[in-house]
């Protein structure tokens, strides 16, 4: 019997959805039956599984036997017995269930700082974090460094805010430190509203203590004695883990009065967001904590001068704060050795869309986009052609195929009309219509606009109307110019970041895919075959065998034809559902 056995099971939102807890139960049961002792730790999904489609099908499990690690994919409860029998007892890993080459490739080009412990430690157990050097940074800061020294390290590391704007974190802290006030606050922004991004959720679910430690160090450096984590209510698992972690931190005297025996008091409260994208904007977030409608106000004054309840307030993103303990522990030089001249360190991205290995990745700033898509992401799903990458969500833009070699950092992306943003990266292929994508984002920003300022409230509505008419075949000559004009006005005159960036998806799709807009407007065609109103289905006579498959699936009886004779689609009855297109085995249904 081996005694050195560790089993790690993916238990993030993705892992749980795939049946992580059932697999865990199966392991527990089998180990009991077979009389083996093991330390079953909860292993969060993000690092290994990384929601890279693996958790879609099943659960990822690490078996570490006498320091040799084997990782299995697609594990279901019934497979557990064989793994225990063959691998754990007899020492022969079950090769056919182990991860394949693309799993390793997925990790090879990544450099992990924020995610370095995610997936290795048990997020619900502070001991697990302490064992990998957790809270060492805090101890070092409190016992040997002044707030000024700490700020100096963060400044030197080059860390910039990961919430979107990229403001240097050390500078923000320094301003707050210099403010004289009886009361200061630090807020962790975990509102993560970008539809298509899940970095912050994964960090909190995988390593909540790193965020808490970062916040405490931030509080010490700025003089804040109260902290809030403003987190989306849609993330129940993250909230629960954060609550547990806060309690454990209090028990260990990292939070509360006289932290670690020094004259430094600090505690953190959780505030649940109530479902409004604009509340991710810092002044709106403050309004929401104060119990008002979450509407932004004009800046300046910036929150570091006048924030929550009019007091100096530092607001930082989850990922920004989670970087802090690692920077303190390893030094500013170490951190700034990653990245480019102006964008230091690493960045976490949520790589999703039409990509083979979708998931959470962490890469050094300045990595070529091509490496992310093809080396880490493994290329496009189903061998389709790459069309574009959308970065920065509703505030960002898209990057077309001929710019695939650009570096991913704040400056380079801004140059091509996109942004790093919070880190969403959605890959689009030849079957995606760019006008439709722009419309999708505008629908989002238009419905999330808080309505306080006119350019955003009415401007986004008008922009959306124009896009809607283009996609339903009623586009007019001059619409593209009108869009550009209006988009620039909304950008220039909106009150907050939401309106100022909302037109970006339109401007960038026009910039790179003007021909698609033109095809919609003048030819009334959607080249990607997405916009239903511009589509028609026809039977291609030379391929049609008259099998009747299309006729049977048609929900509106629009298809007629005798057996073994060429069928016909009545365009007046056709509802363009595409069922016949999918049903035909002979590729005899044409779409266009």
């Amino acid at each position: 019997m081996k005694n050195d056995l560790l089993i790690k099971i993916c238990m993030g939102t993705g892992g749980l959805a795939a049946g992580g807890s059932e697999v865990m139960d199966a392991f527990k049961k089998q180990l009991r039956v077979k009389g083996i002792k093991a330390d079953i730790s909860k292993h969060c999904s993000i690092h290994r599984v990384g929601c890279r489609g693996l958790c879609a099908k099943d659960v990822l499990v690490d078996i570490i036997l006498n320091n040799v690690k084997t990782t299995y994919q697609f594990i279901k409860p019934y497979m557990v017995e064989r793994i225990i029998e063959e691998h754990v007892i007899n020492g022969n890993p079950v090769e056919e269930w182990a991860v394949t080459e693309d799993y390793h490739q997925f990790h090879n080009k990544q450099i992990k700082v924020v995610l370095s412990d995610c997936g290795n430690i048990d997020p619900e157990d502070i001991e697990s974090y302490l064992n990998v050097g957790g809270y060492d940074a805090l101890k070092q800061v409190i016992s040997t460094m002044s707030p000024k020294d700490t700020i100096e390290i963060i400044k030197k590391s080059g860390l910039r805010g990961r919430g979107g704007a990229g403001f240097p974190t050390g500078v923000k802290w320094e301003i707050c430190f210099k403010e004289t006030s009886s009361q200061k606050y630090i807020i962790c922004n975990a509102d993560e509203g970008d539809p298509g991004a899940f970095m912050d959720r994964s960090v909190i679910e995988g390593n909540p203590h790193a965020v808490i430690e970062g916040m405490i160090i931030g509080a010490y450096s700025t003089g804040a004695d109260k902290g809030y984590v403003y987190i989306r209510a849609e993330y129940p698992l993250a909230v629960e883990r954060l609550k547990k972690a806060l309690n454990q931190a209090r028990q260990n005297k990292f939070l509360g009065k006289n932290i670690l025996g020094k004259k430094f008091d600090f505690d953190i409260k959780i505030k649940l967001g109530a479902g409004a994208f604009v509340c991710g904007e810092e002044t709106a977030l403050i309004a929401s904590i104060e119990g008002q409608r979450g509407m932004p106000r004009a800046k300046p004054p910036f929150p570091v001068y006048k924030g929550l309840w009019e007091k100096p307030t530092v607001i930082n993103n989850v990922e920004t704060l989670a970087n802090v303990p690692y920077i303190i522990r390893n030094g500013a030089e170490w951190y700034s050795s990653f990245g480019t001249e102006k964008s230091k360190g690493t960045k976490v991205f949520a790589l999703t869309g039409k990509i083979k290995n979708s998931g959470l990745i962490e890469v050094p700033m300045g990595i070529p986009l091509r490496e992310i898509i093809y080396d880490i992401g493994g290329g496009i799903e189903n061998n389709m052609a790459f069309k574009a990458v959308q970065t920065g969500g509703p505030s960002g833009g898209c990057i077309p195929a001929d710019l695939l070699d650009i570096k991913v950092d704040y400056e380079s992306l801004a140059q091509v009309g996109s942004i790093v943003g919070s880190g969403g990266m959605v890959v689009l292929d030849e079957n995606d219509c760019m006008v439709n994508i722009a419309k999708f984002f505008l629908q989002f920003t238009q419905s999330e606009s808080c309505g306080k300022c006119i350019p955003c409230r009415i401007g986004t509505k008008r922009l959306l109307e124009i896009l809607e008419r283009i996609t339903c075949g009623k586009g007019r000559e001059g619409d593209i110019e009108l869009l550009e004009d209006l988009a620039n006005d909304v950008k220039a005159t909106s009150l907050c970041g939401l309106g100022q960036t909302a037109p970006n998806p339109i401007l960038s799709t026009i910039r790179y895919f003007r021909d698609e807009y033109e095809a919609h407007i003048t030819k009334k065609k959607c080249p990607a075959g997405v916009c239903k109103d511009l589509l028609s289905y026809v039977v291609i006579a030379e391929f049609c065998k008259g099998c009747g498959a299309c006729k049977r699936v048609c929900p509106s009886s629009a298809i007629s034809g005798e057996k073994k004779a060429v069928h016909k689609i009545d365009p007046d009855l056709c509802v363009k559902c595409g069922a016949c297109f999918e049903a035909c085995k002979f590729k005899a249904i044409g779409k266009g």
């Binding site: 993705g14 959805a17 929601c51 879609a56 539809p195 849609e234 994208f277 008002q292 999708f440």
Partner: protein, 163 residues
Amino acid sequence: MRVEDLDVNEMIGDVGKIICEHDRKKGVLIHAFQKIQQDYGYLPGEVLMTLSKKLSLPLAEIYSVASFYKQFHFSPRGKKVVRVCMGTACHVRGAKNVLNALEDEFGIKQGETTDDLAMTLETVGCVGCCGLAPVATINEDVVGDIGKKKLELLVKAIKEEEK
């Protein structure tokens, strides 16, 4: 929670000391809504009225805050809340089809509740499992990778629990 038992001082904590009475009461509003909704499933009019009296804040002010946030509802909700993710990753992987199919199946539109209060159908802007797109949630459980087969199972799962 009974609104009468609501303890403003406790809810707001220490910050209460530095802000004026009116702000202090407002500060607890969202928290109070969340508690009320936890108990009732929505924000009933009478309860908001009581809250207004208790806090001496005009009902209009209370309504203005509550109506700003998507999370708060003013009518009863279904036992099962099904949320179809409409985030970017799910969008490009066919979230619309999932939503349409559920709308057809249950005869309600998004944002509506079935007459027997069994189910409410909603959309959400990314539940953070984009790797599993398209995604829907039934109460707090996540269902991912919804193809045709999975969709049938999903419908069945929703219906089963209705009984």
